[in-house]
C-alpha cells in the first residue's frame, strides 16, 4: 500500500515532457485550420445573406452528386497509397497516387460540367448572390483541390525516386491528410448547399 502511494506521488511529479509532434505535420494542420476558417466565413456569409430574403431558388445540377462520389473514391485510393507506402509496396504506391490524381482531374472536370449546367439553367456568376455563392464555393474548393493535385505530383515524383518508404512517411502522410481534408471540405460544402439552397 505504502509503495503504491509513493509510486503515484512519483508519477505526479514527473516533469512535463515538452510536446514534440513532427513540426511539418503540425504545420499542415494549422494550414487546414486557416482554410477551414476561409470556408466557414464564406458559408456564414451565405447564411446571413440568405436570411435577408430576395433569394434565387434553383435545382443543384445532379453532376455535383456524381462528382462527390468520384472524390470519395479518390480518398479511398489515396488511403490505399498510404497503406502501400507503409508496407514498402512501391508499385501499388505509384499506381494508387496516379489513380488518385486522375480521379482528382475527373472531379475537376465534373465540377466544370456543373458550372455548364448551371449556366444552362440561367444561374450565372453575375446576378443574384444565391448563384454567385455556388460559383464561389465550387471555385474556391477547386482552387484548393488544384493545390492538392500539386502536392500529389510531388508525392508521385518522390515515390518514383524511392524517397517514400516505411521509414519516411512524412510526405505521403501530409499528402494523404490534405487530400482527405479536401474531400471532407467538399462534402461539407455539398451538403451545406443541398440543405440551404
Amino acid at each position: 500500500m505504502k509503495e503504491e502511494t509513493e509510486e503515484i506521488k512519483w508519477l505526479e511529479e514527473e516533469p512535463e515532457e515538452t510536446l514534440s509532434v513532427n513540426p511539418k505535420r503540425f504545420i499542415l494542420w494549422l494550414f487546414i485550420v486557416s482554410i477551414l476558417m476561409l470556408f466557414a466565413s464564406f458559408t456564414s456569409a451565405y447564411l446571413v445573406r440568405r436570411a435577408e430574403g430576395n433569394w434565387l431558388d434553383f435545382v443543384m445540377p445532379p453532376v455535383f452528386a456524381y462528382s462527390t462520389g468520384v472524390l470519395i473514391v479518390s480518398s479511398i485510393t489515396m488511403h490505399w497509397a498510404y497503406l502501400a507506402a507503409k508496407k514498402d509496396n512501391f508499385n501499388a504506391l505509384r499506381i494508387a497516387i496516379t489513380v488518385t490524381f486522375v480521379l482528382g482531374m475527373i472531379f475537376l472536370y465534373m465540377q466544370f460540367q456543373g458550372w455548364v449546367e448551371l449556366v444552362k439553367s440561367d444561374v450565372y456568376f453575375v446576378g443574384n448572390p444565391a448563384g454567385s455563392f455556388i460559383y464561389v464555393f465550387t471555385g474556391m474548393h477547386a482552387f484548393h483541390l488544384i493545390s492538392g493535385l500539386i502536392v500529389l505530383v510531388f508525392a508521385l515524383v518522390a515515390a518514383f525516386r524511392l524517397r517514400i518508404h516505411a521509414k519516411s512517411l512524412d510526405q505521403i502522410h501530409i499528402a494523404t491528410v490534405y487530400w482527405h481534408f479536401l474531400d471532407i471540405l467538399w462534402l461539407y460544402l455539398f451538403f451545406f448547399l443541398l440543405y440551404f439552397h
Binding site: E17, T18, P23, S34, L38, S41, R49, E52, V136
Partner: protein
C-alpha cells in the same frame, strides 16, 4: 558522466557545423531563412512604413489645424495634390486618412511588431535553433514585401490610393464611380491586402508550430515567458481571423471586377440604376469586423507581452500574477471574436442584439483591468531601473489605462450612437491601441537592440525621445476627446459646413497639429539613435539588463542555430528576480535548483530530483535532424 556525454554531443555538433558552407550574400541577408535576419527585415520595413504613415497624419493635421494655410511647400512631395491656390486636394485628404490607417494598423503595428519580435524572440526564448520552417518564414517576409510594394505603388497613382477609409466599406469601395480612390487605388489595396494576409498566415503558422513543438527540455507552458504567451495567442488570433478578411476581400474583388452583387444592391448613379441587385453592404461590415476586432488585439497583445517582460526585468521583481496574466490574455483573445458588432451599433441592428454585444464588449474591461493592475503591482516597491525601454513600457501602461477607460464609454451602445465616428473614437483607439502598441514596439527595440545588433542604444537620446513622445501623444489625443464630444466628425476635410463646428475649437485643433509635428519630429531622434548605435554604439555585454530569459544565454551576437553546442535546458520560470537568499538579484531560467540551495523554497528543493529527468527529455533539436 553527464558532462562527458554532453561534451561528446557538443563535439558532434561542431563537426556537423563545419560542413555548413558559407552562405552567399543573397541567401544570408536577402532571401534569408534565419529568423533573426527575417526579424531585422521586418523591423527595417516597419520603420520605413512608420515614417511614411506618420508623415501622412502630419499632412492632414496641417489641413485640420490650419485650414487657411498655404501648403505650397508640400508640392515637391505630393505634387499636384496641392491645387493652384496652395490648398490640399480634398480627395487626397481622404486618401491620406485611409492610407495612414492602413499603413499604421497593418504594415507597422501588425507586420512591424509581430513580425519583428515574434520572429526574433520565439526561437530565442523557447530555446530553438530556428523557426519550424525557415523557408515558410522567408516566404512570409517576401509576401509582405510584395504587399508593401503594391501598396507603395498605389500611392503614386494619378487617381490616388484607396480613399474609402481603412475599413473600405462598400458600396463606396466597390464602385469606381464613387470616388477616384475607388478606381485602380482600391484594386491595388485589395491585392496588397490579399498578399499581406497570406504573409501573416505563413508567419503565424510558423509561430504556433515553433512554440508548441520546438521548446527546449524543461520549457513547459507554465515556464514560458509572457512574451511568448502573447505572441502565441496573437498568432492564433491571426490564424482564425485573417482568412475571414481574405474571404471579404475576395468577395469585394468579385463585386468590383466581375460584376457580382455580394455587397451591392439597388444603387442609382446620376439617376441611372446599376444592374447589381440583392447584395448586402452590412454583410461586408460583419466579415470585415470579424477580422477587424481581433486585429486590435493582434496589434495590442504582443506589445503587452513585451511590456510584461520589460517591467518585470527592470523592476527586479517577479511579474505579479503570472497565471492571471496568461488567463487574462486568453480571456481577451477569446472575447475578441465575439464583440465585433460593437463597431456596427449604428447600422440599424436589432437593439437587443446590440445589447448582447455591448455586454460582451464591457466584459473585456475585466481581463484588461487585471493586466493593468498586475503591471502596477509589479512596479509597486520594485527596485526600478528607468531604462528607456522601461519608460516606454510604463508609458504603454499609462496609455492602455487612459485609452481603455474611454472604451467603456464607447462600448455602451446608447453612448456610441452619439459618439460614433467622432474624434472621441479617434482619441480612444489611438491611445489604447495605436500609441500603446507603438510604445510596445519602441520599448522592444530599446530592450532587445543589444541582442539584435550587439550594441547598446544611447540612453540619453532615449530619455529625450521618450518624454517628447509621451507628452506629445497626450497633448494630441487628450484634447481630441473634447472635440469628439462637441460632435466633430472624423475623416472630414473641413468643419465649415456645420454651425456647431464652424466657430469653435480652432485653437485646439491648431494645438493638436502643432503637437503632432513636435511628436513626429521627436521620432527622428530615435531614428538617429538607431542608426548611430548600429554603427558606433557601445558594445553590449552578454546580459546587459541582467535578465532571466534564454536569449541572454546565447553569444552576444548569436549565429546560425543560436547556441553553439547544446541548447540549454530550463528548470525554472523566467521571473526569479530578487529572490530572497540568492547571490544575485536574478536567476536565469537555465540555472538548476541544485545550484541555488541558498534561495530555494521547500517545494523547489523537491524539484531537484527531477532535473535528471528534464535533461533526459526529448525535444526537437533541428541540428540533430538532417537539414
Amino acid at each position: 558522466m553527464a558532462t562527458e556525454s554532453a561534451v561528446s554531443t557538443l563535439s558532434v555538433h561542431d563537426a556537423e557545423h563545419d560542413h555548413h558552407e558559407e552562405l552567399s550574400f543573397w541567401r544570408k541577408y536577402i532571401f534569408a531563412e534565419d529568423h533573426k535576419t527575417i526579424a531585422k527585415q521586418y523591423l527595417i520595413s516597419g520603420i520605413v512604413w512608420a515614417i511614411i504613415g506618420i508623415s501622412f497624419s502630419v499632412m492632414f493635421r496641417l489641413q485640420l489645424g490650419f485650414p487657411q494655410m498655404k501648403l505650397e511647400f508640400l508640392r515637391p512631395i505630393i505634387g499636384n495634390w496641392i491645387d493652384e491656390s496652395g490648398k490640399l486636394d480634398p480627395n487626397f485628404y481622404l486618401a491620406l486618412v485611409t492610407m495612414h490607417g492602413t499603413i499604421m494598423v497593418f504594415f507597422v503595428l501588425t507586420a512591424g511588431l509581430s513580425g519583428t519580435f515574434s520572429n526574433f524572440l520565439i526561437p530565442l526564448q523557447v530555446g530553438a535553433r530556428d523557426m519550424a520552417s525557415g523557408f515558410l518564414n522567408m516566404l512570409s517576409y517576401w509576401f509582405f514585401f510584395l504587399a508593401s510594394m503594391l501598396m507603395f505603388v498605389s500611392l503614386f497613382l494619378e487617381t490616388g490610393p484607396a480613399a474609402g477609409g481603412w475599413v473600405v466599406y462598400p458600396p463606396l469601395s466597390a464602385l469606381p464611380q464613387a470616388h477616384m480612390g475607388s478606381e485602380l487605388g482600391m484594386t491595388l489595396w485589395l491585392s496588397s491586402m490579399a498578399l499581406f494576409i497570406v504573409s501573416q498566415l505563413l508567419g503565424g503558422i510558423n509561430y504556433i508550430t515553433t512554440v508548441i513543438n520546438l521548446r527546449t527540455r524543461g520549457m513547459s507552458f507554465s515556464k514560458l515567458p509572457l512574451t511568448i504567451w502573447a505572441f502565441f495567442l496573437t498568432a492564433i488570433l491571426g490564424l482564425i481571423s485573417f482568412p475571414v478578411l481574405l474571404s471579404a476581400a475576395l468577395l469585394l474583388i468579385f463585386d468590383r471586377s466581375f460584376g457580382t452583387s455580394f455587397f451591392l444592391s439597388e444603387i442609382y448613379i446620376a439617376g441611372e440604376a446599376l444592374p447589381n441587385v440583392g447584395g448586402s453592404p452590412i454583410l461586408f461590415q460583419h466579415l470585415f469586423w470579424f477580422l477587424g476586432h481581433p486585429e486590435v488585439y493582434i496589434v495590442m497583445l504582443p506589445a503587452l507581452g513585451i511590456t510584461s517582460e520589460i517591467i518585470a526585468t527592470n523592476s527586479r521583481k517577479p511579474i505579479f500574477g503570472y497565471r492571471a496574466m496568461i488567463a487574462s490574455m486568453m480571456g481577451i483573445a477569446f472575447l475578441a471574436f465575439i464583440v465585433w458588432a460593437h463597431h456596427m451599433f449604428v447600422t440599424g441592428m436589432n437593439p437587443f442584439l446590440g445589447s448582447v454585444f455591448m455586454f460582451l464588449t464591457l466584459i473585456i474591461a475585466v481581463p484588461s483591468a487585471v493586466k493593468a493592475f498586475n503591471y502596477i503591482t509589479t512596479l509597486w516597491r520594485g527596485n526600478i531601473r528607468f531604462t528607456p525601454a522601461m519608460l516606454f513600457s510604463i508609458g504603454l501602461v499609462s496609455f492602455f489605462i487612459s485609452g481603455g477607460v474611454t472604451g467603456l464609454i464607447l462600448g455602451n451602445s446608447a453612448l456610441d450612437i452619439q459618439l460614433h465616428d467622432t474624434y472621441f473614437v479617434v482619441a480612444h483607439f489611438h491611445l489604447v491601441m495605436g500609441a500603446s502598441s507603438a510604445f510596445g514596439l519602441l520599448a522592444g527595440v530599446y530592450h532587445w537592440f543589444p541582442k539584435m545588433f550587439g550594441r547598446m542604444m544611447n540612453e540619453k537620446l532615449g530619455y529625450i525621445h521618450f518624454w517628447l513622445t509621451f507628452i506629445g501623444i497626450y497633448c494630441i489625443f487628450f484634447p481630441m476627446h473634447y472635440i469628439g464630444i462637441a460632435g466633430f466628425p472624423r475623416r472630414y476635410y473641413a468643419f465649415s459646413a456645420n454651425d456647431f463646428t464652424k466657430n469653435i475649437f480652432h485653437d485646439m485643433n491648431a494645438f493638436i497639429s502643432v503637437m503632432a509635428i513636435v511628436t513626429f519630429s521627436a521620432q527622428f531622434l530615435f531614428l538617429y539613435n538607431f542608426v548611430y548605435s548600429l554603427i558606433k554604439g557601445k558594445k553590449a555585454t552578454q546580459n546587459p539588463w541582467q535578465s532571466n530569459t534564454l536569449e541572454w544565454t546565447t553569444p552576444i551576437v548569436p549565429g546560425h542555430g543560436n547556441w553553439p553546442g547544446e541548447i540549454p535546458a530550463v528548470y525554472r520560470w523566467p521571473y526569479d528576480y530578487s529572490k530572497p537568499g540568492a547571490k544575485d538579484d536574478f536567476i536565469p531560467q537555465n540555472v538548476p535548483y541544485s545550484a541555488t540551495p541558498e534561495s530555494n523554497l521547500p517545494h523547489e528543493n523537491e524539484l531537484i530530483s527531477l532535473e535528471k529527468a528534464i535533461e533526459a527529455q526529448n525535444y526537437n533539436d533541428q541540428f540533430k535532424q538532417p537539414h
